[in-house]
Symmetry: C2
Subunit: 185 residues, 2 copies
Amino acid sequence: MIKNSEKTKARLLEAATAEFAEFGIAGARIDRIAKVAGTNKAMIYAYFGSKDELFDTVFSTHVGSTLERVDFDVGDLAGYAGRLFDWFEDDPGALRLSTWYRLERPTGVGLQAVVLINKVRMERLERAQRDGALPKQFDPIQLLSLIQAIATSWATTNPELGVAATTDRNYRRQTVVDAVQRLLT
Amino acid sequence: MIKNSEKTKARLLEAATAEFAEFGIAGARIDRIAKVAGTNKAMIYAYFGSKDELFDTVFSTHVGSTLERVDFDVGDLAGYAGRLFDWFEDDPGALRLSTWYRLERPTGVGLQAVVLINKVRMERLERAQRDGALPKQFDPIQLLSLIQAIATSWATTNPELGVAATTDRNYRRQTVVDAVQRLLT
DNA sequence: CCAATGCAACTGACTAGTTATTTGCTAGCC
DNA sequence: GGCTAGCAAATAACTAGTCAGTTGCATTGG
């Protein structure tokens, strides 16, 4: 047994991220998280309080902070969509966590960080439209909504369309970029 | 106690639809379903076999059969998107059920019906493109994926954008229709 | 017409196993 | 030595699934 508060906490958080991404809040099992983290259940309660609080922590550290790191360029929204696509491709857990959150925590406050980021981005879109740097056929809120939906379109509709998981990633990425480009012309 | 196999089954299915839409598979409670249906747990097992099978029945009767009824007009894909939007607005449970399915049943076969419907629609898109009735900038599979994503964009991004639930429905619908229209011009 | 019979629909209580959370104690570290 | 990190085991509540028995209804034989 090695004692290291920080590392144990980190391992728990990592294990919890995987567990919640896979099974959601109701489906996640505290035992499994503890076991994967190579420690025990009581540590979870010592460090995070409860299952729900653990989920909240997982969500804000994993999703909120990552979204912030996706470069947002008002002059190249198609590129932004492409980068969003890349993020969700490289880290499918992030998208799943967001989806679980929406379903299981309809009134949760954990999305607040995400809402804030989007608010800033909307203001930048607004300014770009006023400066004439961005066409005005869609309002900022419409743009963000559409871009987000398009960037995640493959992830959310793959199963329904019977798309093999092997469908070329570049092809899918290009679809996203092209679609957003077309909205703006 | 009134005995009526058909009606009891129907009440159970209705209660189960609401329960699964709200809580997902892992979060749904058999007891709650039975109670809401005004009957007994054992009836669920007599009629549907298990919790999982009950979910499957709920999904295919509620989602599969409804998607089929959304008119698909290759000559008016924007209108199709609008009708999809209407469906999910009028019956938010349908979208939630689909989302739960994707998250909790990654390898389930219940989506088969949906996959089939989409396959037929893709073939119709293909033919329309060959006949020159539909522009070719996107492949059929890209079109279906994008249309589906755009039609549900508000439902899936509302929370992240901090959109009040009161945002005008017509405004949201028009966004969907306009976006799809723009993809095709 | 009507009572006895058969049977499917129904029920409440039960079980066996899980689950989140707590506790009392041990082991490492300054 | 004392404080923090860590643990195994206990607990209390819950959950999917079962079962032995009951109830209403239709059928049938008189």
